[in-house]
């Protein structure tokens, strides 16, 4: 790419750097789901130029002792930038390997001091029709809302990302900041965040509201629980074997992050809580 440079120190966190071959920057920045710019996967790269990632603020509010509206520059300095190479598994059955730049979301959460009653965190994406032509369609309810349980949000692998491939995020990948939750399907990782809210109730997430029988609140990557319209047992790694004739890969439980995050779901029936 040719955006502003944003270096990060290679993360030493367990599981944070996979050694798998990286997806090309071109593929990672041209094949995107970001419905605020259209539902076709080439739409975000075509139409996200209208997004203005600066100036930008993020309101962190709800059940916290120190509700704060952060300026983007303050967030960029809040904690040292790390490079993390995560697998990204889309619910549609394809995957990529992307070097993100950012820091654990927990660093931000500690600053605002959640109250004891806070059980969930809600992530709200920008919804400005002037910058986002896709809002004209009623594919989803806007703004796009995602959510995590507080312990999931506090997990060190949950990344607040500002860049990828050593540069600031391209607009189509969720500039200026987004979430990356590598053990969940990609849609759980909200892009272009403007609000982070702590609540005591499970957030009403966008896809869960649109199609509750297809998309649950948890949406952990799970090869054993099929999507109603397709199997999740395998995935197509984008760019592998020049694309057309590559063998599909076996999808791994929690996208291969089971050793790090499995204990978060101990005792839960993941078929029911999909």
């Amino acid at each position: 790419g040719k955006l502003g440079s944003l270096p990060g120190k290679r993360s030493t966190l367990d599981g944070a750097v996979t050694m798998e071959a990286l997806t090309s920057y071109d593929d990672a920045s041209s094949y995107n789901n970001f419905y605020e710019f259209g539902t076709d996967k080439s739409d975000p790269a075509s139409y996200a130029k209208t997004l203005k990632p600066r100036p930008w603020t993020v309101a962190v509010e709800g059940l916290v002792n120190k509700p704060t509206t952060f300026d983007l520059d303050a967030l960029l300095k809040l904690s040292p930038m790390e490079e993390r190479v995560y697998r990204l598994r889309c619910v549609e059955g394809w995957s990529m390997v992307i070097p993100w730049v950012g820091y654990s979301l927990s660093e931000l959460i500690k600053q605002v001091q959640p109250q004891g009653s806070a059980k969930f965190v809600e992530f709200v994406t920008l919804a400005d029709p002037k910058q986002m032509p896709g809002l004209r369609s009623s594919v989803l309810g806007w703004p796009y809302v995602e959510g995590l349980r507080l312990d999931e949000a506090m997990h060190p692998l949950t990344l607040l990302a500002f860049g990828m491939y050593g540069e600031v995020l391209p607009n189509q990948n969720g500039a200026p900041l987004r979430l990356v939750v590598p053990w969940k399907y990609g849609f759980k990782s909200g892009k272009s965040l403007v609000k982070i809210r702590f609540t005591d109730k499970e957030p009403r997430t966008a896809w869960n509201v649109a199609a509750p029988q297809e998309y649950g609140f948890y949406s952990n990557v799970n090869p054993e629980v099929s999507h109603p319209r397709w199997s999740q047992a395998t995935e197509r790694r984008i760019g592998e074997g020049s694309g057309l004739f590559a063998k599909r890969r076996q999808t791994l439980m929690f996208n291969g992050y089971a050793p790090q995050v499995g204990q978060l779901y101990a005792g839960m029936d993941l078929r029911k809580l999909y």
């Binding site: 594919v139 319209r229 694309g243």
Partner: protein, 209 residues
């Protein structure tokens, strides 16, 4: 209108009746396939070429289905009887694109694991509906040549080939279900509206007669 075919219509009929009309239509109908093969081998299908290929082939099947069902309404209302000469070929192109759509799905999504294809057909209603539409195309393709028409008799042949209406309904349902996950029905609506009005025109004419 009979007997007083307007000047323009007669010119169109002249073109359609021309010796080269069929070969030209054949080449035109092959172009989408040729482009997709070229694009696949020159890496022009984007980050997920398999998906792009399967989906384009499905859309081209639908487009040819629209074309073949438009032939009777067009030749009747516009006075282009010569259009009938192209109907069989367009119908066979529906079958051709449906076959390579299915083949591409079996190859790139299922890696030719026939057990997996069978399980998928049973499990996923949208695949089942698409597969049924393809199955119903088989008897139509198999009886598309003159000898089959003579053997069946025109009446029975015509009755059999009315299956195409059911194929159209199944094809739109297949597309609708495929898109329902994204709640993205704009294009589905366009195809449903066109195919719906082509079927409604036939119903209207029958009721009027």
């Amino acid at each position: 209108m009979d007997g007083t075919v307007p000047r323009r219509a007669s010119r169109v009929n002249g073109w359609l009746g021309h010796r080269s009309a069929k070969p030209i239509a054949f080449v035109l109908a092959c172009l989408p396939f040729a482009w997709l093969v070229f694009a696949a081998f020159t890496d022009r299908l984007g980050a997920n070429p398999a998906e792009a290929l399967i989906r384009s082939l499905g859309e081209w099947t639908l487009r040819f289905l629209v074309l073949v069902l438009a032939i009777t309404p067009l030749r009747t209302t516009l006075g282009w009887p010569a259009l009938l000469r192209l109907r069989r070929m367009v119908g066979l192109f529906v079958f051709f694109y449906a076959c390579i759509h299915l083949l591409a799905y079996a190859a790139f999504d299922m890696e030719f694991d026939l057990a997996a294809v069978a399980a998928d057909v049973i499990k996923r209603p949208f695949i089942l509906v698409g597969f049924l539409a393809w199955l119903l195309l088989l008897p139509l393709a198999a009886t598309s040549f003159n000898r089959a028409i003579r053997a069946l008799g025109a009446r029975r042949w015509q009755w059999l080939h009315r299956l195409v209406y059911m194929i159209a309904v199944l094809a739109v349902l297949h597309f609708f279900w495929m898109r329902s996950g994204k709640n993205n029905f704009a294009e589905v609506g366009v195809y449903a509206a066109i195919l719906g009005s082509l079927l409604a025109w036939r119903l209207w004419r029958r009721l009027r007669a």
